[in-house]
Structure formats: structure tokens, C-alpha cells
Amino acid sequence: MARVTLDRVNKIYGYGPSAVHAVEDLSLEIEDGEFAAILGPSGCGKTSTLRMIVGLEEITSGTVAFDGEPMNARAPEQRNVAMAFESYALYPNFNVAQNLAFPLEVKGVDASERQRRVERIAGLLQIGELMGRRPRELSGGQQQRVSLGRALIREPAVFILDEVLSHLDAHLKFQMLFELKRIHQELERTMVYVTHDQMEALALADRVAVMSNARLQQFGDRDALYDRPANRFVADFIGEPPTNFLDATVVHDGGAPLLHVLGSDLRFAVDGERAAAIEAAQLDRVTLGIRPQNLTWNTDGDTAVVGATVDFNEYLGEHTILTLRDGGALFRAIVPPNVDAGEGARVELHYRTRNVMVFHPETDEFLG
């Protein structure tokens, strides 16, 4: 078991003009026994980060420590970590059972115990019938589960899982998420889970580290990411459909500031906290963000209202997504499936003023 600390870690591949700065000044503290996820678009440095944690990649600068003890100089085999690779890395000469048993064999676990653990993990991951097959005789999703099983079969200080569910169908993915969560609760070991699927990250992890362009954007739990995103990128990346962003000018209509969306008649009110933040920043232009979930059809009274024209109505069974327009401004809202809002209809939507997020128009930082 271990608390994993990254302190201003950098990774630069290559030299000179062709150098790639893959991880930039990354500081992260993952608690002992925590389930942490690293979330970010392709190429943002997730795998590079993992490889530095386990010791497969040299750390250009900074420190990786387990329980406060620096690991930079330790070889991978001395770090007591288990990793599932994005590329599976199954041994082609071994069958599934041998692949699963390999880490135990190296550690000198005796044959009957090996057998027991292999069967248990195969049961959990639903690969019991595949035991005698070679990796090349398996589908992508099957290989992926064997690779995950090989990582989960030991009980190391830290589990590192790199996109381990990306090739599974939605149904199987859901079951595997559940199993992973259960294994984590059972073993109470630190897990670092990398994905570019926010649903997986939010479903599994206690806290999610959102990365973009080699930098950590925010490390926080679900509520923090939803309600207090560090910047526009996080607000955009977390949540489905993505947050609506609208450029707005700040107008002072007697007392509280209003956000007047450019090129339209839309006006959003903000609550006191946000108003104060805008005042403090002395801005007359801001980027306004509001999640489609927070623009509602019905109201319980404590809300403000905006009106717009329906541009497009997507009926999705459990709900309907409305694409709305007012002047040049486009935004989306999630409404109940049965609402009567045909294309071209004029509708009113409700929102809570505290759900209006305000970002700095140039730095994209979250103001409040």
C-alpha cells in the first residue's frame, strides 16, 4: 500500500528541435488506497505519466515518491507495482492461463495457490472459457481482459491501469466497471486508472486528474469538476453533452451585473458570489458557461428564465436535447422527453443563478 506523490514531474522525449514535452510540471498526491483516475484527450501525456510512476520511463525532472520515499532511482521490479498496458502486452507464446499465472510464478507462489487465484480472476473477468487459448486467438476485448487480469492477480502496493476497458462493448464495460470497483474495495490498494472516457473516470474514481496538453488542469472529485471546474477546458471536457459557452458583455442594470450574450438578446443573471468575482476581476467581457442539464423545462420557483427559439429537437428516449438559438447565439438544453417544442417554437428555459459559470475571456480561467 502506498501514497503516490508526484512533485513537479516533467517528461521530455528526445533532444533539440524534435523534443516533445509530454508531461509538464505535474504535481499530484494520490492517497493510500485511493482510486484515482487520470482523464484527458489522446496524446495529453497520460501514458507517459504512468510509465514514470512505475519506472519504465526516465523522469526528466521532478520526483515520484511512494509513501514519501523517492522512487526515481528504483528499477521497475523494485517498486512493487502492477500495470495493465494500453497495448495489452500479452506473452504470445503463453496461453491465457499461463499469462495470468506469470506474475505469481515470478513471485514464487506455489502451484495450487496460483491455480486458485487464476480461476478466481478469470471468473471475475468472464474469461474462464479462454484459458487454453493463445493471445492471437482472442478478440481485442478478450485480450484486454486477460491483460487486466494479469495486472489484478497480484497484490502490489499500487495498481496502474492504462485504458483497460476501451475495447469492450457498453454492456460488458459496465460489468467490468462494477468488478473493478469491487476489487478495489476488497483490496483497498491504491489504483491509478487512465482513460479518455469521462464516464469511466467519474464512475470509478474517488478523484479525477484532468490533463490536457501535458499539464494537469484539475485534480478533484466529481462535484468539484462539475461545479467548480478550474478552467474552460475542464468544464468542456467533463459532462455530456458539453457545457454551453457564450461570449458575453457585463452590463450593470442598477446593482447586480447581468451577462448580455453577444449577438443576441439573451441575458443571464448571476448570483452574488459570481457577481463579486466579476467585480474583483474588473472585466467587462467574460465567457459564460452553463451546462445543458442546468437549463430546465420545469421550475420550482427559485430560478431565472431565458427565452430562445428551438433550432433542432433530438429525441433520445430518456430525454430530449434541444438546440436553441437566439440571434447569433446557439446553445443546448436537456429537457424531459415529452415536451412540446417543435422546431421554430419559442420556448422558455429556467436556470439557477448559481449554475451560471463565469470564465476569463482570455486565460479561460474559472472566475466563479
Binding site: 519506472g55 521497475p76 502492477a82 498496458f85 497495448s87 502486452a89 506473452y91 506469470f102 506474475p103
Partner: protein, 279 residues
């Protein structure tokens, strides 16, 4: 194309292949019948294409000279020892180039090593003679040929093994490190089995080169050590060339590589396609 035209094309291709097969197999056929003829029949102005008198005894006759068997044994010793050494050095060097020298330096070094194989061997004939003459064991020894052939075989072995190692995913070794293997153990237990078919092909190529080499063997050795290509001219004693003995002996000398090739062809095919098809 209509079916008629197709059929004509197929026939033309078959005829082409037929001619090609004739060209390659006819010399072999002529070797075999010559090996079975008596000398008088060979020396006739109009050659016979089927022996009038069969003389299978020729195959016993060649071994009347004790030098014949010894030359084959010498060839086996030189070829096998050189192959073992080439493979050992080439595998280690190829691995180092594939995994640790991946930059510009590695590329150039690998190309330099391969380029050793590209210049005409005659260019180094005389220097090599003086070099080996200066060694304690002299030119006429097993060691001189075993080491000399490394000049040709090691670059080939290094280059091919490097290509094979590049095609084996590094992550397999990395997974083994994380499970507690040291780099050395991961190399032997995880990576080497994957390139084994490739190693067999490389061994085969090295062995055949060393088995057939004549130029250097003829110049450097000939008394203490005498490989079979150097031994063949001894059947041309005096004014008379015993072509039947030459052919019989050549046929015997062809057997070891042919047998090896047939025995190992399963690995050869897989090994030679290693670099082409990944997976």
C-alpha cells in the same frame, strides 16, 4: 480478360516456369549422372545424357583418399563454430542496437556494421593473410577461418537480429520487469523465444556461407586444415580430371546443407517472414 486469354496467360506462365526449372535442375541432373559414369564415358566427344555404364562405386572411391572425409569434418567444424560465434555476438549486438541505440548514432552504427558485408571480399584478401600470419596459431588453422568468416557473418547476423528484435514489442519485456524479472531474465525468458525462428534462419544463412567459402580458405589454409571446397581440386591430379569423383564428392558435400534446410524449413519460413508480417 475473357477466359481464353486467361488460359493463354496461364500457359505462358507455366512454360516460363518450366524453362526456369529446366535451367536450374539440369546442372544438378548432369552432376548426378556424371557422378555415376566411368571416366572413359565422360571423356567422350558426344556426351551421353544417361550413363551407359553405371559406376555407383565412385561414391566409395572418393573416400579412398582419407583427406576427403577429413575435409568434410573440417568444414563442419569451421562452419558450426563460426555460426555459433556469429549468432552469439550478432544476437547480443542486435539486441543492443534495437533497444538501446535507437537514435541517429545507433542507425549509423548499424549501417556501418552492415556495410562491412558490402565491399568485395578480395579487397581484404592480402591484408587478412598478413594479419592471420601474425597470430600465434598462424594462417593454416581452424581459428583463422572461424574468426575470418565473422567479418561476413556477424554483420548479417547483427543486422537481421536487430530487425527481429525491433519487431518484438518492448512492452512484453516491460511487463515482465513489473512482475519482477530482471532485464537479463526478461531477455532470455520473454524476448529470445519470440525471435527463435529468426535465429534459426540466421544460423542457416551463416552456416551455408561458411560451408561454401572457397577464396579465403584456399589462400589461408590447405595443409593442417582443409575445408571441402579446397579439397575438390585434388581430384584433378596430373593431366586427368576425375570429373566423376569431383561430381560425386560435390554431391556428398551438398547433403548437409540440404538436410539442414529441410529439417529446419518450418523455422526458416517463419523466421524470414518475421520482419514482414507483424504479430
Amino acid at each position: 480478360m475473357d477466359t481464353n486469354a486467361k488460359r493463354i496467360v496461364v500457359w505462358l506462365i507455366l512454360i516460363g516456369f518450366g524453362i526456369w526449372v529446366l535451367f536450374t535442375l539440369f546442372p544438378l541432373y548432369f552432376m548426378i549422372i556424371t557422378a555415376l559414369k566411368p571416366v572413359e564415358e565422360i571423356n567422350r566427344m558426344v556426351p551421353t545424357f544417361w550413363p551407359e555404364t553405371f559406376r555407383p562405386d565412385n561414391f566409395r572411391g572418393i573416400f579412398a583418399d582419407p583427406g576427403s572425409l577429413k575435409s568434410l569434418i573440417d568444414s563442419v567444424i569451421v562452419a558450426s563454430a563460426n555460426t555459433a560465434l556469429s549468432l552469439f555476438l550478432g544476437t547480443l549486438a542486435g539486441y543492443a542496437l534495437a533497444r538501446y541505440l535507437t537514435g541517429v548514432v545507433g542507425e549509423n552504427l548499424a549501417f556501418f556494421i552492415l556495410s562491412n558485408r558490402m565491399f568485395p571480399p578480395v579487397a581484404i584478401l592480402i591484408p587478412m593473410f598478413f594479419l592471420f600470419d601474425a597470430t600465434p596459431w598462424g594462417t593454416d588453422s581452424y581459428w583463422s577461418l572461424i574468426i575470418l568468416y565473422l567479418v561476413f557473418n556477424m554483420p548479417l547476423a547483427t543486422w537481421l537480429m536487430m530487425v527481429f528484435f525491433r519487431d518484438t514489442p518492448r512492452e512484453l519485456e516491460e511487463a515482465a520487469y513489473l512482475d519482477g524479472y530482471t532485464p537479463l531474465r526478461a531477455f532470455f525468458k520473454v524476448t529470445l523465444p519470440l525471435v527463435f525462428p529468426g535465429m534459426v534462419s540466421v544460423a542457416m544463412l551463416c552456416w551455408i556461407f561458411a560451408w561454401n567459402e572457397y577464396l579465403f580458405a584456399n589462400l589461408l589454409t590447405g595443409t593442417t586444415v582443409k575445408t571441402f571446397p579446397v579439397h575438390i581440386p585434388s581430384f584433378a591430379a596430373g593431366s586427368q580430371t576425375l570429373w566423376n569423383f569431383v561430381m560425386a564428392f560435390s554431391l556428398v558435400a551438398m547433403l548437409p546443407p540440404v538436410i539442414l534446410f529441410i529439417a529446419l524449413r518450418r523455422y526458416m519460413v517463419r523466421g524470414l517472414s518475421l520482419g514482414v508480417v507483424k504479430g
